[in-house]
Symmetry: none
Subunit: 188 residues, 2 copies
DNA sequence: CTTATACATCGACATATGTCTATATATAGA
DNA sequence: TCTATATATAGACATATGTCGATGTATAAG
């Protein structure tokens, strides 16, 4: 979780750095050849302080470097980082790995909490199919696969959760969570 | 110029879209498989309106698409665009092509740009003779050859560029760009 | 040693934007 | 028809940031 988070934030920082027209122009120009601040100022038509500001940001991310030549500072592009970052995007698989996981249990957990009381019993049988399925999925956990349950035993188990065992039994059958033959039930 | 400019701005829009942690997470999740808004909300721990807002931005850029399935809207990633954009970065050569050209500015242009403000007025009168000459050459364009200017008129014209009209007048005379006789000036 | 040049840094300001709450819209279900 | 659910949209607000002007700093030049 924190590992992937950090990786994503690095990518965000990279995108954020390139998400400006003038900075992108600077990168494009440095992709041609190294340049001094003044040369960039002349091409970009903005104040020198603005260019220095952008260069500082790019430099902080390691996207560009600088070497002093007398009074002029010559900036040059680190193409290696560019290519590395590009590969991150080139494969959506990488993005998928770093992304947070789908929280499938969220809906189930909320449904379970709202329909089961603190005593562990069902308050009501959900009318909506989606929620009813969640509850049924939970109830069927009480039955072990491979074991056969006579109807009275089934009723006894279900009665621990709700008085209307007839409805519960029927819904479990209709959902395919339990199967029945000659008054004997089992979990497929 | 407008061609490359547009291309760069498209890239900027792309970067800007990915320059947000939650949007990047969304893209990463959709890279796994399509998802509804609710699923994303559960995973991202932000308000539903926020997720919808992000999805709208990604959709506006064509990065994701949506199909309605009943009440739920299922969003899915357009991986083709991702790969296309990535290739733009993968080759710094492409960036270089779209970048503005290095301006081989003449000495005159640089001098003019540095001494004239955006309002078209002189910021200071250059002390160096070479630069001063460039500015004077520009100022004398305001006068037409063959026309005679009384001193008040000369002052009025020069005042549009700098408050020290006396110095400007004197320098123009000394440079031979204007001539004077009996309080009347003309451009030779 | 003084001035000029090339660049960096600071403070201010206007704009952009991510997030929230509240509300509207559309569809499914009772 | 009425309610519930899923999503979209509008408005508000705080924060982030690109840009500029002014100033600081280091090096070259005279």
């Amino acid at each position: 979780m924190p590992q992937n988070e950090a990786q994503l934030e690095q990518l965000v920082a990279f995108f954020q750095a390139l998400a400006d027209l003038n900075r992108l122009k600077i990168v494009g120009m440095l992709a041609q050849h190294p340049a001094s601040v003044e040369e960039l100022v002349d091409a970009l038509q903005v104040q020198q302080s603005t260019v220095s500001h952008h260069l500082a940001k790019l430099k902080a991310l390691g996207l560009v470097n600088m070497r002093k030549e007398g009074q002029t500072h010559r900036y040059y592009l680190d193409e290696e980082i560019l290519r590395t970052m590009a590969k991150q995007i080139l494969s959506p698989e990488n993005l998928a790995e770093a992304a947070p996981p789908f929280a499938r249990l969220s809906f189930e957990e909320k449904t379970l909490r709202s329909f089961f009381g603190t005593d562990g019993r069902l308050k009501v049988i959900p009318a909506q199919r989606k929620k009813r399925d969640v509850i049924l999925q939970q109830l069927v956990q009480q039955f072990e696969t491979g074991q056969r349950y006579p109807e009275p035993h089934v009723n006894e188990i279900l009665l621990r959760f709700h008085e209307d065992v007839f409805t519960l039994r029927r819904e479990l059958i209709m959902a395919g969570l339990l199967e029945r033959e000659n008054g004997v039930y089992w979990r497929p």
